[in-house]
Amino acid sequence: MIAAKLIRRINRNLRPFGLRLGAVPIWLLGLAIAIVWAMPFVWMLSTSLKYAGDVMTVDVEWLPRRVTLGNYEKIFTDFPVARWFLNSVIVSVISTGLNIVFGSMAGYALARLRFPGRDALFMLFIASLMVPTEVTVVPLLLGIIKIGWWNTYQALIAQPLTYVYSVYIFRQFFLSFPRDLEDAAKIDGAGHFLIFWRIAFPLARAPLIAATVIVFTFNWNNFLWPLLAVSDESMKTLPVGIAAFAPVVGTRTQLEGFALGMAGITVLSVPSLLVFFFLQRYFIQGLSSGAVRG
């Protein structure tokens, strides 16, 4: 009797939070898992603040016994990390921007315009997703060397420009677009371009953000292509530069320790984490509401 009353009272209090008593354990479990899921990041940060000698300890230390910002100092002074960061920003922003603009136009045309070869073109785009990038990388390398684009920004920008996810996302979105808007505009005599630019595109905020997050992330983390296309230290992008600290394939294993590498990858991860963090609501919205139907 009393127990039932108690439960009801508790449930009433929990209601504004959307919880029931029975759900609380699952709720807590889920949170615990979520926190554990992100543990590697905490570990990464923690290690980056340790002195090199304190890293390999038999007991796991979540909080460094001695905190130091020395690793961060070192990577910025001993290595052109600032320059790598700048390179990544330049390449990612430009390539993402162009990809989104071109991709949205192509997606719109594929969804709403009629022209011979439309479906074939779309098939071609999708098929290219199945071909591993790694296959295209070496012939592309030769091509860009021939036209003198080795170690240049153009080469770094051009390759990810062809990422077809944005076209796919925009096409999906525009397919579900109500025709009446268009028809209204057409009656006013507007041509397709105006329709696209003035009406369709501004309404496509959700897929725009979704595509931007995906493409930017892809660009920021692009690894193999910058690894090959650039050998000049001052032209490397951040992931490639920092990879020199990786114990298995890095070239600096004898000299640098994990702590330094962790500082490097913390710096590396911050921009993409921030971009996602601020845009996540739109991001998820952009992937729903008809944008993705499989």
């Binding site: 590697p40 300890t57 136009m105 012939p139 390759q159 076209v167 057409k186 993705v292």
Partner: protein, 297 residues
């Protein structure tokens, strides 16, 4: 009159053709053809040749493919790649879906959970290479440390031929899950509330609601996620490269990784391209099988 001009000429089959569409697609398509398709065709051509970058490719017909079939390391790479698919894809789909279900409940702090679950997706391969190699370290790694509390001996995650594939897979699931998770979440949010409520009114239990109503609604998304993850996993490369370099003894090697080695380290581009072509065929085959299997249901 202006309307007609704006809508374009009529083509033979009475449907207006929007010629301006070609302009629309040109901006994307031209770089695409140049930087994506052209290298693919060149790669396809090279797979029938023997070529070491310097000098002209020498036509050898099907020799590369024959060599690939006889090369035991190619066999190992393909087996591993399929294993990766069998391990990673189900994990990503199931775990991602579970997480999405959880976040979709909109319990307190669900936004935090959402951020935490997705965040690994945005990091770079280099991060995986450093953090997870460290976490899976046999002596000093976090994973073994906590497994120790459960009474389990140190697992040689990355240094043993038995465990390396699993070690790389664990890191991969952690990394790749984010996209599946948000796709599921977005789709769940699309499920009309009335469906939920109607089922609740009918007295359906939570489980029944899940299986009989939500899952069927989500079939297209599930199919999409499986397809995307499958294709992406079959192409696995960067994790292998930064975590184990394919070892030990090729136990974690994947097809693309093997191809990279043959191409970059041994300059056997013809051979490497042939191996890549074989993988491409495998991917197409699996995708088609998957699509057919779905349609049949």
């Amino acid at each position: 009159m202006a309307m007609k001009a704006a809508r374009g000429r009529r083509s033979a089959d009475e449907e207006p053709v929007d010629w301006v569409a070609y302009v629309f697609v040109a901006f994307f398509t031209i770089p695409f053809l140049l930087f994506n398709i052209a290298p693919i065709f060149f790669g396809a051509y090279v797979s029938f040749t023997k070529w070491g970058i310097f000098g002209k490719p020498k036509w050898v017909g099907l020799q590369n493919f024959r060599d690939a079939f006889n090369d035991e390391f190619v066999g190992i790479a393909f087996t591993n790649t399929v294993l990766y698919g069998l391990v990673i894809v189900p994990c990503v789909v199931v775990i991602g879906f579970t997480f999405a279900l959880y976040v979709n409940q909109r319990w307190p702090l669900s936004a935090l959970a959402r951020t935490l679950f997705f965040s690994p997706y945005v990091v770079s391969a280099t991060v995986i290479g450093l953090v997870w190699v460290w976490m899976l370290d046999t002596q000093f790694g976090l994973i073994n440390h906590y497994l120790g509390y459960l009474g389990i001996d140190n697992v040689p995650w990355l240094t043993s031929t038995n465990w390396s594939l699993l070690g790389v897979s664990i890191a991969s699931v952690w990394w790749d899950l984010g996209l599946a998770f948000v796709l599921f979440l977005a789709a769940l949010q699309d499920v009309p509330r009335d469906l939920y409520e109607a089922a609740e009114v009918d007295g359906a239990s939570r489980w029944q609601r899940l299986w009989l109503i939500i899952l069927p609604q989500l079939r297209p998304v599930i199919s999409l996620v499986v397809t995307l993850q499958l294709i992406s996993t079959l192409r696995i490369f960067s994790q292998v490269y930064v975590m184990t370099n394919g070892g030990p003894a090729s136990s974690s090697s994947s097809v693309i990784f093997y191809m990279y080695n043959e191409a970059i380290q041994r300059q056997l581009f013809g051979y490497a391209s042939a191996v890549a072509m074989l993988l491409f065929l495998l991917i197409i085959a699996i995708t088609i099988i998957h699509r057919v299997a779905i349609r049949e249901r």
